[in-house]
Amino acid sequence: MRELRVKVLKNLEVGPQTYLMELEFPFPEEIKPGHFVMLKGWSGLDPMGRRAFAIADKKEDRISIYYQVVGRGTALMAKLREGDSVEILGPLGNRLFRLDGQRHLLLGGGIGMPGLSLLAKELKALGKEVFVCYGARSSSLLVMKEWLKENAIEHKLFTDDGSEGQRGSVLQAQKDFDESWVVHACGPKKMLKALKEMAEDRKVYLSLEADMACGWGVCLGCVVPSKNGKFLRVCYEGPVFPAEEVVL
């Protein structure tokens, strides 16, 4: 975990209200699939807190994140230009994706896909079988489809409105892969909840989101109920959990 002020290397609009930001980060070896950062790209105390973003990719000296403008913090981020600097804390998260097992099915819903992309890349580099099902409301929101092609990751696209790929949810695809495939998913809570219910009998890992104040385990704000009646910190005991361990 490092606290750094770093330069914005790129901040591109890649879809409706959706941006790709590349940031300086000189310690790529520290980043593992599942990690996230807390980022503040504005000065002053309002908005006060940093915002959480999955690390979507890393190259020698840089990381990238994809973000959707949903409120004040992300709206301010969208105004950043190349050369501006932002504060980041990371990499964060202690329970990350597991790379063991030979076959991996990744289910990415909307802006959850950037939570899985680095996993896809690393699994492929390890010579494992990887298949990504990537879904969004409509075609223009499939902002990582080029990335999947560039990195030669086998994948299938889904849209709710049928504007690209198969109409419907990525969850349909899950049935077509037998239990030799480990499932990893990241996306809206509704999707993860549905997946947990329909895939009870197989190994499923979920990367969760929660409102976070600190991101490093000290506020106890980001909790998710566990199956044995405790509250676990998403930022610290997660963000990746075996589906059977959490109550959604």
């Binding site: 105390l45 385990g217 509250f231």
Partner: protein, 312 residues
């Protein structure tokens, strides 16, 4: 520069501490910086039995601040001693246990369980948590009950007892005085202010508990005012620890000039994790620039005592 302060018979490295509930038990921060640089770490509230805490959503951001309703989630004092304490033992600074109970007896039992834990140098009684149904505010909002609690604990424990005051009582001085009259060694001001936030799209309160505790820079002026009032009324007889809205050196200095002998950084740990260290450096720098000592700072803004008119 020597920034050490002696309070209630204990020597602290410096007056910059971290506040309860905003720093865990000090372990998470070890990955980020040398925690032994801090003057002290105040632990997350400890209760006799484990507490699971409140349902999420537990936090909500507000203008220059945040609301929380954590509900004192903690593993209980026994598990703390067994599992966490051995890991903090080697951290070379003082720890203060923030103690919470639903009954007088529980407060006492938690303190007694910690008596032989050397690393814990004092107790901070949390009588001001707005996020639990029993205990907490019940003690902090009733003069008689509070006096009896402090009296009982003081009579039974060896370590200094600090009382963390509620800002939600109307008159913080009355409550501070009752603590001092019953032997409290220090007053900690302030805990969070009761507040709430509503989601206008859903037309419902955001926190699962509806109301929660407001903290962060938004509450700084209120905290400074309360420290000021406590110092004016009781400064001669008790040490005051300032907490509330501290996020940079200016806000920390305001607390000290109002009367705080030491300060606790709370919510700022979330949005600026290195802020305690920056504040520490800032205080050193300030003292050097103005050729003052720490002693000059404490209460230095009160008219009876102005450092620039000090004969020494």
């Amino acid at each position: 520069m020597d920034l050490s302060v002696k309070l209630f018979g204990i020597s602290f490295k410096n007056p910059v501490w971290v506040a309860s509930g905003t720093f865990g038990y000090g372990l998470e921060a070890l990955k980020l910086y040398d925690v032994s640089k801090l003057g002290a770490v105040v632990t997350k509230g400890l209760s006799l039995k484990p507490r699971i805490g409140n349902e999420p959503p537990r936090i909500a951001e507000t203008p220059c601040g945040m609301l929380n309703s954590i509900g004192l989630q903690n593993p209980g004092v026994e598990a703390f001693l067994k599992e966490i304490y051995p890991q903090i033992e080697h951290i070379d600074t003082h720890f203060i246990a923030n103690v919470f109970g639903e009954t007088e007896e529980e407060y006492l039992e938690v303190c007694l369980a910690l008596e032989s834990a050397e690393k814990i140098v004092a107790y901070e009684l949390n009588v001001s948590c707005p996020n639990v149904k029993k205990g907490g505010l019940a003690f902090g909002h009733d003069l008689k009950v509070l006096g009896r609690l402090v009296n009982k604990i003081k009579g039974k424990v060896k370590k200094p007892v600090l009382v963390k005051l509620s800002p939600n009582t109307g008159d913080v001085v009355l409550f501070g005085k009752v603590c001092v009259d019953n032997g409290a060694d220090g007053l900690v001001a302030i805990n969070t202010l009761l507040g709430m936030k509503i989601d206008v799209e859903k037309r419902t309160p955001i926190l699962s508990t509806v109301k929660g505790g407001l903290s962060g820079p938004a509450i700084l002026p209120i905290a400074v005012r309360m420290v000021w009032e406590l110092y004016q009324a009781l400064g001669a007889s008790v040490s005051i620890i300032g907490v509330g809205g501290i996020y940079d050196v200016d806000s920390a200095l305001q607390h000290m000039l109002a009367g705080a002998s030491a300060v606790q950084v709370g919510t700022a740990n979330f949005f600026d994790p290195l802020s305690p260290l920056k504040i520490l450096e800032g205080i050193e720098d300030y003292l050097r620039r103005h050729q003052l000592t720490l002693k000059d700072l404490v209460g230095g803004a009160h008219s009876e005592y102005r450092p620039d008119r000090c004969p020494c």
